[in-house]
């Protein structure tokens, strides 16, 4: 799209419309649209850019409401009159209107995770749409740049900190000091294993069951070796890295904010994940010989 359509252009055209409407009596339905009517090709490019932003926000842990607001800001900033988004767990659909032209497009959404820095970098870009104009091509390029350049913590740092989190979580649950290091090690190894399996594209639920089994077994055996009196709690604490806290909170927020389908889908995901984690821990209990 060669021409830039920014908020200032839209405001100028709207004020022009108001003057014409006052001077000659044109029905409101004909004057309410922006003077710049986008053709289908332009709408297609805007839909692609808006859906890309929405998809990345979904995949990095945003609530449905934030995704909807961001998508509307992007599409309106690029010149659309009307934006309608439908968010599902695995796909997003958008309908854009400009004058009498309308298009509907859909995009698949990848696995929903949490990536705070990328999420906030995208939000910053979206916020800029209010202050400056941009083309759809620039939006797509900016998204690609953010994905490429947003830093991630090194996997070994994540594994170490997840181990610390599991051991700390364990202390909150009541594990004794003897079980602290075994739980830390089990959590760290579990996170390392999860990272490898997810990079290989293994199913999320299979990963949850497998890592729950691995971490719980290592935590239990380690705690027993360290003469802990809280082997059972140590086995549970070792899998707390898998607890889907953000989806659980987002699920409720989505329902509260008027997206019950998305919220219900997230809730089902949480329940399924807990079942798979429990299966992994249950098998570990059988192997370690600790009562469940």
């Amino acid at each position: 799209m060669a021409n830039r359509i920014g908020p200032s252009d839209k405001m100028a055209s709207q004020s022009g419309h108001a003057m014409i409407k006052d001077w000659i009596n044109i029905p409101a339905t004909l004057t309410s649209h922006d003077a710049v009517v986008l053709n289908h090709q332009e709408l297609e490019q805007i839909a692609e850019a808006a859906l890309l932003v929405a998809r990345r926000l979904m995949e990095t842990g945003s609530r449905a409401e934030v995704v909807h607001e961001a998508c509307a800001l992007v599409a309106r900033g690029l010149g659309c009159d009307q934006v309608n988004l439908r968010s599902g767990y695995a796909s997003l659909e958008i309908t854009l209107d400009s004058g009498t032209n309308t298009i509907t497009r859909m995009i698949e959404v990848g696995p929903l995770g949490v990536n705070y820095r990328l999420n906030h970098a995208i939000r910053k870009v979206v916020r800029r749409f209010r202050e400056s104009s941009c083309t759809p091509a620039e939006t797509v390029a900016e998204m690609t740049r953010l994905e490429r350049e947003t830093p991630r913590q090194p996997p070994w740092v994540v594994a170490l900190w997840v181990g610390i989190a599991c051991a700390s979580f364990g202390r909150l649950l009541g594990i004794d000091w003897a079980a602290f290091i075994p739980v830390l090690a089990a959590g760290a190894l579990g996170q390392a294993g999860r990272h490898i399996l997810l990079r290989r594209g293994t199913n999320t639920f299979v990963v949850a069951a497998g890592i729950a089994f691995l971490s719980s077994t290592l935590g239990g055996l380690g705690a027993r070796w360290a003469a802990s009196t809280t082997v059972n709690l140590a086995m549970n604490a070792s899998v707390l890295l898998l607890v889907p806290g953000v989806p659980a909170v987002n699920s409720q927020s989505d329902i509260m904010e008027g997206h019950p389908a998305m919220g219900s889908a997230r809730a089902i995901f949480v329940i399924m994940l807990l079942i798979f984690i429990a299966i992994g821990v249950l098998i570990a209990h059988v192997i370690v010989g600790a009562p469940s």
Partner: protein
């Protein structure tokens, strides 16, 4: 009400460590990590004080989430916004993650599996314990979500995204 300060301090320290660990897992930067730790410490301190005052887990979790949510809203004030950006809500969520009742969730699923065994041992007691754990999971997660959402929505403007 007598407060065991050492216990409160213990919970706060490990709540902070757990929240920081989850912060790293969620790819928070090092700059935001102290905020994560503070949020976790604040939430766990509130919950522990609530439990010591005789509240049940759900009420204490709700209060803790609400306090963490209110603290997060303070980060949106102009002075603190320059330091933390718009990280407030995310920090509150990270601080509340250590209060997700993972152990109760595991217990409830174990209980359900035990109930479906060919000859369940002490079925009535298992059923009651399982239902208790299950309800605690549901109510505690609901309390956390509600506490976080209510505080976020009280301050919320129409264009909250900005």
């Amino acid at each position: 009400m007598t407060v065991d300060l050492m216990h409160v301090l213990h919970q706060a320290v490990f709540g902070a460590l757990a929240a920081s660990g989850f912060g790293i897992l969620f790819n928070f930067g090092w700059r935001e990590l102290p905020g994560c730790a503070a949020s976790g410490a604040l939430a766990l301190t509130t919950r522990t004080l609530g439990l010591e005052a005789g509240w049940n887990l759900e009420a204490a979790s709700f209060a803790a989430a609400a306090v963490a949510g209110c603290a997060a809203q303070l980060l949106h004030t102009p002075f603190l916004r320059t330091r933390f950006g718009t990280a407030g809500n995310a920090l509150a969520v990270a601080g509340c993650i250590p209060m997700v009742p993972g152990a109760f969730a595991a217990q409830s699923v174990f209980g359900l599996i035990a109930l479906t065994a060919p000859q369940p041992h002490n079925a009535e007691t298992t059923l009651v314990t399982t239902m208790e754990s299950l309800l605690r999971v549901v109510f505690t997660i609901a309390a956390l979500g509600t506490g976080l959402s209510i505080t976020a929505h009280i301050r919320r403007r129409r264009d909250s995204f900005l």
